[in-house]
C-alpha cells in the first residue's frame, strides 16, 4: 500500500503542478539581476544565496496540494481503515514530494546559475548543497502542509510557518554553497536528516489531530 501511495502521489504531482515550483524557482532567480543590476562580480557573489532564496520560495508553492486534498476527500481516513498508519502516510508523502520536487529543482538550478553568472567551481558546491538540502525542504513542506490542512487561509499560514523553520537549512546550505572548507555541508546534512526523520511523526500526529 505504501508503494502504491507513493506512486499515486508522484503520478498526481506530475499530472498536476510539479512544474510550477520549478517555473517559480526560475522566475525568482531571473528577478535577482533585475533587482540588483547586471554587475557580473556582484551577481557572482550573491548567486548561490539567490538560488537558495529561490528554492525556499519554490518549496512553498506545492504545500496546499500535499495533504489537504486527501484530508478533504476522505483518502486519509480510508488509508487508516486499510491499516496504513498515519506515520507511514507521512513517510510516503515526503518520499513522493521529494521525487517530484528535488530532481526538478536541481535541473532548474543549472539555467538559473547561468543567469546569475555563478562561477563553475561554486556551481558544483551549490548543486551538492541543494541535493543535500532538498529532502529536508520536502520534509518540512509535508509537515507544514499536514499542520495547516483544513485551516482557513492555510496557504498564507504555511508560508509564515515554513520560512522561519527553514532558516537553519538556509544558513548551512548557503554556507556550504559558498565555502567548501567550512564544514557547513555536514551541518546542513544533519539538519536535513533531522527534518526527514521528524516528518513522519509530525505529519502523523497532525493528521490524527485534524480528525477531532
Amino acid at each position: 500500500m505504501i508503494g502504491a501511495l507513493i506512486a499515486r502521489d508522484v503520478r498526481r504531482a506530475i499530472g498536476g503542478a510539479a512544474w510550477l515550483p520549478v517555473g517559480f524557482f526560475l522566475v525568482v532567480a531571473t528577478l535577482i539581476p533585475f533587482a540588483v543590476g547586471p554587475d557580473p562580480q556582484l551577481l557572482g557573489r550573491i548567486a548561490s544565496g539567490g538560488l537558495w532564496i529561490a528554492a525556499l520560495t519554490a518549496a512553498l508553492l506545492p504545500i496546499e496540494r500535499l495533504v489537504e486534498p486527501d484530508r478533504a476527500s476522505g483518502v486519509l481516513d480510508q488509508l487508516s481503515l486499510h491499516g496504513v498508519s498515519e506515520e507511514a502516510v507521512g513517510a510516503a508523502k515526503v518520499s513522493a514530494h521529494w521525487l517530484t520536487f528535488g530532481p526538478l529543482l536541481l535541473v532548474a538550478a543549472l539555467p538559473s546559475s547561468f543567469i546569475l553568472g555563478l562561477a563553475p567551481e561554486a556551481l558544483g558546491r551549490t548543486i551538492i548543497a541543494l541535493t543535500v538540502g532538498t529532502p529536508g525542504l520536502a520534509a518540512l513542506a509535508v509537515m507544514v502542509a499536514a499542520l495547516t490542512a483544513g485551516l482557513p487561509r492555510a496557504g498564507a499560514l504555511a508560508g509564515v510557518m515554513l520560512l522561519p523553520l527553514a532558516v537553519p537549512l538556509l544558513i548551512f546550505g548557503a554556507g556550504a554553497s559558498g565555502d567548501a572548507a567550512s564544514g557547513a555541508l555536514l551541518l546542513e546534512a544533519a539538519i536535513s536528516l533531522l527534518l526527514v526523520a521528524a516528518a513522519p511523526l509530525v505529519t502523523g500526529a497532525a493528521i490524527r489531530a485534524a480528525r477531532t
Binding site: S73, L81, R211
Partner: protein, 183 residues
C-alpha cells in the same frame, strides 16, 4: 461467538457537547443495526468512533476490520472509475457489477453524478474484505434501482457472516435491529 463490533459504556463529546453517554452496543456476524435519530444526534460520530477515526471520551470499543462509506468519495477525481477503485484493492470488478457501475468503468470520477458517486463509495466498501460495514446515509442520492442493489449486497454480506451498521433517515429493507440516538 466473538462480536465484530462492541461498544462498552462509550461516551462521545464533540465541540464541548455531549452527544451520548454510556452507550452499549454489540454486533455479531450476520447482524445489522439501523441507527436513527435527528440531525446532530451523533450518528456520524458513532460511525467514526466504530471505524476508529475518532477517539471516545470514555468507554472501550472493540472492532474487527471495518470498511466505511460516508459522504467522502475518497477516489482520485482525475482517474477513471475502475482505476480509482483499483487503488483500494479488493474485488472491485464484482462490486462494480453489483452496483451497475461496469458501464462507467472508463468514465473519470469527476464526471460522476451524485447518485453514481454514491454507488462508487458503496462499491469501494463492497470490494473490501472487511467483515464490518459502516454506512453513513447509504441511501442519499440513490435511485430505486440503486437502493435495490444495495439491499441485495447487504443481504449477501450478512449471509456471509458480515455485520452492518447503517445510519439512515430512510427505511432499509431486510431485517434490522434499531437504535435511536438523541431520544
Amino acid at each position: 461467538m466473538k462480536p465484530l463490533l462492541r461498544f462498552d459504556r462509550v461516551s462521545c463529546r464533540r465541540g464541548g457537547r455531549l452527544l451520548f453517554e454510556d452507550l452499549d452496543l454489540q454486533l455479531g456476524p450476520g447482524e445489522a443495526l439501523h441507527l436513527t435519530g435527528p440531525n446532530g444526534s451523533g450518528k456520524s460520530s458513532l460511525i467514526r468512533l466504530a471505524a476508529g477515526l475518532l477517539r471516545a471520551e470514555g468507554g472501550t470499543i472493540d472492532r474487527s476490520g471495518a470498511a466505511v462509506a460516508d459522504e467522502h468519495l475518497a477516489l482520485d477525481r482525475e482517474l477513471s472509475l475502475n482505476r480509482a477503485l483499483a487503488f483500494w484493492g479488493g474485488n472491485f470488478d464484482r462490486a462494480m457489477q453489483a452496483l451497475d457501475l461496469a458501464r462507467l468503468a472508463s468514465v473519470p470520477v469527476r464526471l460522476l453524478s451524485t447518485g453514481q458517486a454514491k454507488r462508487a463509495t458503496l462499491a469501494r466498501v463492497a470490494a473490501s474484505s472487511a467483515p464490518l460495514w459502516l454506512l453513513d446515509e447509504p441511501l442519499n442520492g440513490l435511485d430505486a434501482d440503486g437502493v435495490e442493489r444495495l439491499e441485495a449486497l447487504l443481504a449477501a454480506h450478512l449471509e456471509k457472516g458480515g455485520a452492518v451498521l447503517a445510519a439512515s433517515h430512510g427505511p432499509l429493507g431486510g431485517s434490522w435491529s434499531k437504535m435511536e440516538l438523541g431520544s
